[in-house]
């Protein structure tokens, strides 16, 4: 995976580059939106990471120009503006995901991988299979080793999202936004307890675990 990073702050750019390099992800850095836009046509670029407040053209304006030009590459906005209102404005403005600074390195990596996968994996498969777990999207049923899992509608959505991102870290914020459609973080541990409940349904009666808690980051559906 190759990332185009449009970021005017050198320290942040260095940190992002180092975090992604450790994961084997190549980063090309552009210090302004104008320079970045000139490179977006490069077919080697898989995902664009852009800051909001840039000197000259803002990140949100750059994304608008990108979309007007018909470039549909996934964009992650990495911004110091972290209020819910900014997230909504960013997503409405054409970015695919929004991560506020300061961020957890694992969260950045997880989001980029999720965006990258969206461009490469058939996301609309009627049946998702991960190990012995089967998820029938249209019938809205889930099975493990042929045994029916009695999931609520939200638990079904939760498992579906985890299976679409199987093997990758999925953060709490990603779950809040993509499963519960919330753009704010409730103060209580509701995501954790819902994951515990899902894990119970997934793992009860089976010897091996499949839903791993990645401490301080989120969750990962591992090979059962």
């Amino acid at each position: 995976m190759q990332i185009l990073l449009i970021e005017d702050d050198a320290l942040t750019a260095d940190a992002v580059t180092a975090i992604l390099a450790a994961e084997g992800i190549a980063v090309e850095w552009a210090v302004t939106a104008e320079i970045g836009l000139a490179r977006t046509g490069d077919t080697a670029i898989d995902v664009i990471v852009v800051d909001w407040m840039l000197p000259g053209m803002s990140g949100i304006d750059a994304v608008a120009r990108l979309r007007r030009a018909g470039i549909e590459k996934p964009v992650l906005m990495l911004s110091a503006l972290g209020r819910a209102e900014h997230r909504v404005e960013g997503l409405d403005g054409g970015v695919d995901d929004y991560l506020a600074k300061p961020f957890e390195p694992a969260e950045l990596v997880a989001r980029l991988r999720a965006l990258y996968r969206r461009t490469t994996v058939q996301a609309r498969q009627p049946v998702l299979i991960h190990g012995d777990i089967e998820l029938h999207v249209h019938a809205r049923t889930a099975l493990r080793a042929g045994k029916h899992l009695g999931l609520s509608p939200k638990e079904f959505e939760l498992l579906k999202y985890l299976m679409e991102n199987a093997g990758e870290i999925v953060t709490r914020e990603m779950l809040l936004r993509n499963v519960w459609k919330l753009n704010f973080d409730p103060q209580t541990n509701i995501i954790d307890v819902n994951l515990v409940r899902l894990r119970r349904k997934l793992e009860d009666g089976f010897a091996c675990c499949c839903l791993e808690t990645v401490r301080g980051s989120g969750y990962r559906l591992t090979a059962p």
Binding site: K101, F184, T188, I190
Partner: protein, 456 residues
Amino acid sequence: MPTHRFTFASIAVRQALLSTLVTLAAMVFLATAASFAIERSMRADLQRMIDADIDGLAEIMVDGGPAELVRRAIDRTAWRPSAGARAYYGIADANAVRRAGNIGVPRGVDAGRSQVAEISLGDDRVLLRATRLRGGWTLVVGRSLRGIEALQHRLRVDFLGVAVVAVVATLIAGLAVAARLRARVEALSQTFTRFERGDLAARSSIDRGGTAGIDELGQLARHVDEHFDWTQALLIAQREISDNIAHELRTPLVHLDTRLLGALGHNHDDIVAAELHLARSNIRSIVSLFDALLDLTLAETGGPTTDTSSFDLSEIAADLAELYTASAEEAALDFKARITPGVTQRGEAMAMTRLIANLLDNAFKYAPAGSKVQLIVVAGPRIIVEDNGPGIAAADAEHIFLRFRRAAAPDTGHGLGLALVKIIAARHGLSARVEDAGPGARFIIERHDAGTKGSS
């Protein structure tokens, strides 16, 4: 904002109708005054004619005696004018025997005092004077009032015609002016509506009165535009300032966090690592507090929500109830949701989601294990979150929605959740209050007028 239809509710239409009524009243007053004046003048003329006639006949009586008087009276009675008032004469001798004329001496009319009277004669009304002549003879001279009545009738018909034309013309002109006025006011009103809904570029494009806006509405439109310019500049400045502060405050914190991350990467001491993690956690707490304060301040200064789209509040509440059910089990709380299906609300769905989530967070945070927590959503809308936990001391109840106020218990949160609840409620035309659930606390979100109307 309600739109004035072209009805009696419109000031302009009322003004047009009032002008028409005033015109009508003026016409009626003018017609009445003219009728009285003409009648008075014509009656005076008739009276003068009668008196002149009496004067002449009295001289004839003196010069020619009763025979001549009778002869002249017969002549005059026979003469019928083609125009003007018909004449009536009556002559009676000293024995009150009628000797000539087409009228007798009416009863009750005192000829000795030359009395004037108005009597009915057949279908005619007659103004007459009876007078005593030499030798005790009585002379009665009268004139028909029909001419005056005919003239008055003609006058009324003519005035009615003029009045109809004047009233219709006034009404048409008034309604035309009202329509133009209404269109200009409507345009101004729509400008406010667009601006309130977030179109900061909205300006009054109304007709400024044709003379560079010197009429009252033109001046008002100019003031409105100037006010909108000013408000737009303030809103943009507010947004830029808050964004810049957020950016400038976060950037050094991001740098600090990056350096702490770098230090963590090079560190092999568990104690140092724990301190570094704690420092990073503190940074997140500062950022989170700062965002919560900004959310609160911007929501507070934002006024009523500009989003008028309708959303299903019941669906939002049901989703949240499902989300929090697992938390309730974990915290050993008996959580129940009683949600009436199909309750809708206009405004910002995400903000109302946050309102309910904050109320549930608050209840879950303070209710000890084993407590009951209930979420109720009914038509109105009325949202209730109640628990049978420790409740809120009466002294704290009135301050509970203020920022940084919280019960002296958990150390989580910034103490801004309930303040945001109150602001979000206010932005949606709802009130937020807390009452004693005996035991526990009951938070109620409902319409401001729900208490007075008994709405649920």
